[in-house]
Amino acid sequence: MMHLIVLPIVLPALLAPFIIMAIRYHMDLQRIFSLAGTVTLVGITLALLAQAATGDIQVYELGNWPAPFGIVLVLDRLSALMIALTALLALAVLLYVIGSDWDLKGRHFHPLFQFQLMGVMGAFLTGDAFNLFVFFEVLLIASYGLMIHGGGARRLRAGVQYVVYNLLGSTLFLFALGTLYAVTGTLNMADLAERVAALPADETALIRVGAVLLLLVFAIKAAVLPLHFWLPASYANAPMPVAALFAIMTKVGAYSILRMYTLVFGPDVTITDGLVGDWLLPAALLTLGVGTLGILGAQKVAKLVAFSAIASMGTLLIAISLFTETATGAAIYYIIHSTLATGMMFLVADLIISRRGGRITPDVPMAQNGLIASLFFAGAIALAGMPPLSGFIGKLLVMDGARGADQWALIWGVILVASLVSVVGFARAGSLIFWKSYEAGGADPADQPAPQTPAAASLPFVAVIGLLTGLVLLSVFAGPVHDYARATAGQLFDPQGYIDAVLRGGK
């Protein structure tokens, strides 16, 4: 069906105002509608994924204005994969939020959640650079609301920093788009790609500035060093389920880098040759290093997971910055893994924080210690990249993709040492939280007071175990998924197909 592409944007865009206007005082109804909407979204995006898997690039012209004059939505393998991933993560987060009553701690959680989904879906689907900016703003403004959900002085303070940092990023985005428009006279991505490739050699100075400015904006979103400062404070102070949803937001940055720098400023474009990869690779290596050190040094569970999110972005961007087909295939596999694993760990962090507080210090044992400990270590194994979970396969693929690069020894060294250090970091945190509990309270486990009775909600565990199941499936079906990822990379590195689909209706 032709109109299916626009539904992932339209559905949350209609649902959110409906929730806020018609049923704002009925929390049960809000939950039902929000959940039903998200489940429908999962169905739609999976159907779109099945359509895109055939290799066709579908183009949807909004208002029936032909590109490059109107705005187009484009569904190729990469965007279909990203929207399906978003919907699945959103479903797990929403189940967790409902199960743990997080949505009761402040107002308007569900509308903001739907607007957030609308922004993310739009950013993945759009084929127009200015429209990408608009959807960035939609997802950001919803994320501001979600980030300070529940309130509290410290969260609000972190919220101000987060908003200011992102507003500055948006301004830079506009400067970059203005520069691109001034040189090329278009903002449609496919049209940009054609015109940049055809630029005369003496007009390249400005376009190079634009390309680097744009990279800077996406690097802020993807939390690349040295632009990562916003992430630890805001993710660690946001409500943990919201931070779990934000796992997809850093991926929006990674996706945009992948899209713009394969399509518009691709490896074949001589004027920006080496401009991006040469800068991004060292930054990504540093990101991985600093993220890993943060895992080792974190004193709070929330910060621990926030830094592990930075570390996994580092690994992902190493793969992206090589800009070869093999490495990009690895990056796409790693995006799926990293989103699911980071989301799961933030939810596990919330399980821990709600039972014993956020500090990584010995404390009285908490309810369901064993179950949460196993979930924590499963997530840690995934994030640290140990077998048997998908993190191991992902890292292996990234290292395989780096084999042909000049600095392969450096890349391998950093990835391997970082894995070791993060194993140590997670083991330290986990053993302090889960195994030293008895020492803190008294000499003998038998003397301990009975663990606090839990809130008796099973839905949070369903959500966490659902994400874990996703990771297990990703490991078991690594072959087919990697085949899809490789096909996606093949499509990305053949931009002519995309350009023809958008500008010439596939002919």
Binding site: E137, G152, A153, R154, L156, Q161, G178, Q299, K300, G358
Partner: protein
Amino acid sequence: MEMLLASAVGILTACGVYLMLRQRTFPVIIGLSLVSYAVNVFLFATGRLAQNLPPVLNHNSVAYTDPLPQALVLTAIVISFGMTAVVVMIALSAYLSARDDRIDMARDDSYDDEQATGHVNNAEDEA
């Protein structure tokens, strides 16, 4: 006119960046507004500067001024206006709940929030 416009963008951006590096939220927000004004003026210039020309081509006119940047500026103005309103509200509630409008997170471990993080992110102090 080019000189005037270029220096306006430059001065606005410079002042905005300077104000954004302050430690209190009020100057930071003013700085953000200045930078967003700068970018609006900049966007205007991306369609080339033209005076007294129609924004649409017709049979009588020899030249036209590019209407697209004006539409982009309009979108950008609306978005930055909304964003500024949001940041003012969040900054206000942060100020009201902490009785302090510093923008950095330093040494405020005494807040009761469970999820508060122990470690100060010194990077923001320097910024």
